[in-house]
Symmetry: D2
Subunit: 259 residues, 4 copies
């Protein structure tokens, strides 16, 4: 399927590893020039060179925390007129309700809401003017089923979900779409680390720890990052211009609710 | 993007025209052999020959009401082991609450629920056994925002939505996904007919009648059938196996709700 | 809290036992004259005499299947101008997807949708004209989280949910509200029977079978029918006239979703 | 209906006027001792004396911004063991997406999330221990249908919605419920002010400005604060202990969605 985006330009926040990296792969394959971002220079460098080697597109790297103004500046220097933006970032740590501090809440809000909003304010007008934009945020399955210990995540990401939904209504008439992907349990470094933590804390084998992760997924397996990347690529396609304001769950069919 | 379904086989209910036909186009292009179905022989014949001319896949036609056992028999004769099924059918007519009769309700339930369920019962076991299945139902945006005069539609399609959601939980572990597409206002013959009705009833021009249709769509235009077809094609892809139990709205960003 | 409905008149379908009976108790206590209905004459008689003994209101009984026209006639003979209607009925039996037959689906649709709609068509115009109506349907928590084996329930009740939502939009301006209650696991005869079935099938004690029922309820207990009845009474109150088109879950806080 | 809360104690944030004040009235009438809070001393004094005159319960007033630690201290001094808490506060101003500043976002987050969370952390453990708690947050209908210019509201209140839903799962087993009320267009001072603003900006009469407010409400009228107060009172009742984690819309039936 021709996605109709060859030659387009994308900025992908937090894309040096994991799901963000998979998103980069999927659209680079479709001919999109990309700006990779991550906090660790080595990861960014690796991603840039591997992507350059594999795909005939321009690949640039910007190192730094994607919720800051300086990194926004660098990203827009590297790509002043992005057609595609991936909003992504590391999720906050599990914290029970009684230990939710103001500082941690504020930091999570900065990461999940203030940073992304301020970045979008700089790219949306151009997308509207050029009549093409594809904005996709990586959120979490938990925004629809809040887990008590993940308040730092859903307590801020739900706010972004609302803001993006509002924004989507204003810009869809200009062929700028705004959607969210809600992943649950993909086979990235994060799940591997979590399995190792479980190994130690419960004294189980790696395979047992992995089996536990899979137990909550109706598909009976973890998701593959390339599946996530291709869902992103589809949402970025030219022919997805009539699809906006949606939150697509990529969770192995695990969500229990009707809608 | 390679959807990984070349050589697969699909049965598409109510696919000789409109959105169903667009779905057929999008997967035939990806190398899927297809069975076209429609109530009018001429429409089916036209679709079959046009699709055969355009794509290097096997195309078969089955004429008849897709909610009946006889047509199910014929469809399964034409394609005993479908990998992909499109559930589609003509929507019922607008009817205000006070004129909802038992007969019309029963007929709509037969079309929207009993027929599709009985067909799926015949194809799901094979999909599960072969560990590949992609079931997509064309529902309506109105199932999430019920319009008082469309009870025959949402009053039965919501039932199917529930049954499909339940089914999805049972089969996703076997790489059989079940999803819904919820369209609103695509530029098909139906919208053209409706515009003509409005022309006559309101004494307006065709362009005015069309403008009225578009007024309720945030995208500022009707959807194109090929956009619908490509959304279907993506849901049928090999790499969409982790996406199940979802109801994806294709409505030009018009849905007001957060989820 | 004065509910402002003393002297009002109510027809309560399937109210001789269980949750329906509890609803009758709660509004009889508030001075509402009531018509009790149930399939078993002895149950109806008992309910009528107990309610008459306890409350200073008129209590009438109508025996029969509340989805039939004859019973509707009898109910409206007993109370030609109801202000309050409870839609209730026995839920269908668990049935796996592959054994969902057309006959069982049609019967469930008749019970869950066609019967209630035809009854409402006879009472809504009067409510609109008199500018007071409170319609409450007892649905099931499963309409929001479909359980694969309960398709006969959610596959029809979701249809009613849609029709009632549509209806609510048309009538709220006339002070006629339409809401649903979505119960999960109340301590009625049904749960006791189910516990006895589990005792036999699993060879466990009654207490163990009950513990299993409670395990899925976040409140750590079954609901009490009087809690259900009082929720119904609140929805019927004069001061609930601004609350319509809602589906209120009474499930011990068990629903996982955000909305 | 006896709500079973006579003698209970409540802290109501932002309750000197409007909807908060109505909530105070409704539970004072049921015999609940109350602590009133507001930013303006005169308003708090008036509320306290009027409530004291009308109801035979203890009424205390605490002046100040309810999202601050100092006011939390004063509230808990006045009522160290609250059984009931109303979370309420003035909503933020309309702001279009392109003018959403970090400062305004942070301030809204402090008001809508950080303040309420830090207050709840101080009262929930006691509720759990005493095995009775009723927490109700006044949110907004817009959290379910985000309006582009109200991002400061839904962009933070949705976060609280998620946190409260998570919290509800942890505490319902201890008879502590957590629910939200989602109002739309109640006849409070705020709507009157907004009507006056519209008068000036559009050069229309007060009645025309009011008619415009009502136009978006399916009930054909604004809600009455006492209706809101009584919904709150019901959620605080002893018999509402099985109802938790819900977001009840009080919007004159205006919400378009099925759930």
């Amino acid at each position: 399927m021709d996605l109709g985006i060859s030659g387009r330009r994308a900025i992908l926040l937090a894309s040096s590893r994991g799901l963000g990296r998979a998103c980069a792969e999927s659209i680079a394959r479709e001919g999109v020039h990309i700006v990779i971002n991550g906090r660790t220079a080595a990861d960014v460098d690796t991603a840039v060179s591997e992507l350059q080697a594999a795909h005939d597109v321009e690949v640039t790297g910007v190192v730094g925390d994607s919720s800051t103004r300086e990194v926004h500046d660098a990203l827009l220097d590297a790509c002043p007129e992005p057609d595609i933006v991936l909003l992504n970032g590391e999720g906050p740590s599990p914290t029970p309700f009684d230990r939710l501090g103001a500082e941690a809440l504020d930091a999570a809000f900065q990461q999940a809401v203030v940073g992304p909003v301020s970045f979008l304010q700089r790219v949306v007008p151009g997308m509207v003017e050029r009549r093409f934009g594809r904005i996709v945020a990586v959120s979490s399955a938990m925004v629809k089923t809040p887990n008590p210990v993940m308040s730092l995540s859903h307590g801020t990401r739900l706010g972004l979900a609302g803001i993006l939904k509002g924004l989507s209504k204003d810009v869809v008439a200009h062929n700028v779409t705004v959607n969210q992907l809600l992943p649950e349990r993909f086979d990235t470094g994060r799940q591997q680390q979590m399995a190792e933590l479980v190994m130690k804390s419960k004294g189980v084998s790696y395979d047992e720890a992995r089996a536990e992760q899979i137990a909550s997924i109706k598909a009976g397996r973890l998701g593959r990052p390339d599946e996530f990347g291709d869902a992103f690529a589809y949402l970025c396609s030219a022919q997805a211009g009539y699809l906006s304001g949606q939150s697509l769950q990529l969770d192995g069919g695990s969500y229990e609710g009707i809608f």
